[in-house]
C-alpha cells in the first residue's frame, strides 16, 4: 500500500491510496469520520437567557462551533484520571456574558484555555436586541463522531475507485465516447481516443454504453482517490495520521483477542 498526495492543503487534501482492498479504504474513511476525537461544546450552563432563541436551540448552535483541538493536551473524559467527572485535563470552559443590543459572535466566548478557542471568530451565534441578556458557561470536551456529528473533524470525507480505461487498437475513432463523457475524462488527439484526466472519472460507464464497437473498457482497480476536508479544528494531515494510528491500535487489540481465544480452545 502507498499514499500519494494530489492536493495537500491545511483544510482540504486529496490523496491516492494504491493497492489497498475496498475494506481497508472504507475503514480509513470511517476512522477519519468517526474515531478521531475533536473538541466541541457538550454541556451548557445557562444562567440567564432573555434572547429570542430557546435555551436548547442556543446550546445546539454553540455545540456546532468548531474549536481548535490540541489532541495531546486533553484526555478522553472516560479515560481521564478524574473518572469522567471533569477536570482541567479533560474539559475547557468557555464563558459568555453579554447584553444587547449586539450581534453575538463565536469570538465573544472567553475560554479558560487560550489554545482551545473557536476556529472562526466571526460565526454569528444570536442577535440580541435592547435589554436582552446572555450569561452562559459552555463546557467543551473531547468526543468522537460516533457520538455526535459535532465531534467529526471532517466534513467531506469520501473515496472512489480510480479506474483503468483502455481503448483497443480496433477503435475507428468515431468520438462518440468523448462526447458522451459528462466529466470530460477522454479526449480525441492524433486520431486516437486518449485518457486526459483519469482522476475525474466517476465510472458512470456512459462511454462503454455508447460505443457501438465495444473497443473501450473501464475496469476497477485497487487504487482509491480520497477527498478529505477538515472543519478547521486540526489540519487534514493530522486527521489522516491520527486515523491510521487508531486503526493500528484497533488491529493490535484484535490480534491480542485472537491470541487469547486461540489459547483457550
Amino acid at each position: 500500500m502507498k499514499l500519494e498526495f494530489v492536493e495537500d492543503g491545511e483544510l482540504r487534501a486529496s490523496f491516492i491510496l494504491r493497492n489497498a482492498s475496498a475494506a481497508f479504504a472504507n475503514s480509513v474513511r470511517r476512522a477519519m469520520k468517526s474515531l478521531v476525537p475533536t473538541m466541541a461544546v457538550d454541556y451548557v450552563d445557562i444562567y440567564l437567557n432573555t434572547s429570542c432563541l430557546y435555551d436548547e436551540v442556543l446550546a445546539h448552535r454553540i455545540g456546532l462551533i468548531p474549536l481548535i483541538t490540541k489532541l495531546d493536551k486533553f484526555n478522553m473524559p472516560e479515560e481521564c484520571s478524574c473518572g469522567g467527572e471533569g477536570c482541567p485535563n479533560c474539559q475547557v470552559s468557555l464563558r459568555l456574558n453579554v447584553e444587547g443590543p449586539k450581534l453575538v459572535y463565536s469570538g465573544d466566548f472567553v475560554s479558560d484555555d487560550p489554545e482551545t478557542v473557536p476556529v472562526y471568530g466571526n460565526i454569528p451565534v444570536v442577535k440580541l436586541y435592547k435589554g436582552q441578556q446572555l450569561m452562559i458557561e459552555a463546557v467543551a470536551r473531547l468526543g468522537t463522531g460516533k457520538e455526535h456529528a459535532k465531534y467529526q473533524p471532517v466534513s467531506v470525507c469520501a473515496y472512489k475507485i480510480i479506474p483503468n480505461i483502455q481503448v483497443s487498437s480496433e477503435c475507428s475513432g468515431c468520438e462518440e465516447c468523448v462526447k458522451a463523457c459528462p466529466r470530460s475524462v477522454l479526449e480525441f488527439k492524433d486520431g486516437e481516443v486518449k485518457v486526459k484526466d483519469v482522476l475525474a472519472c466517476s465510472m458512470c460507464m456512459e462511454c462503454v454504453n455508447v460505443c457501438s464497437e465495444g473497443t473501450i473498457k473501464v475496469e476497477e482497480t485497487n487504487d482509491y482517490l480520497f477527498t478529505v476536508e477538515s472543519i478547521g479544528s486540526m489540519p487534514v494531515k493530522n486527521i489522516i495520521q491520527k486515523a491510521l494510528e487508531i486503526l493500528i491500535d484497533k488491529a493490535k487489540g484484535m490480534n491480542e483477542t485472537l491470541a487469547v481465544l486461540g489459547e483457550e480452545s
Partner: protein, 66 residues
Amino acid sequence: MFPVRCFTCGAVIAHKWEEYSKKLEEGKTPKEALDELGITRHCCRRMFLTYKSVVEEFARFHGAVG
C-alpha cells in the same frame, strides 16, 4: 439566525455569512458571491440561497407574553 453548518455535508458555513451578505449589498449576484467565497458544493450553496432571517420579527413580539 444563519445555520452554523451545512445540513447535508456538515461543513462550517456561518463564518462566511457576513462576507456573503456584504457582497450582495455591493450588487453582486448570489452566484458571483458564492463562487468568490469558494463555496462549491450545491448543498452548501442552497443554505445561503434559501436562508431567511426571522429574528427581527420575533424580537418585535419579544416580552409581550413572557
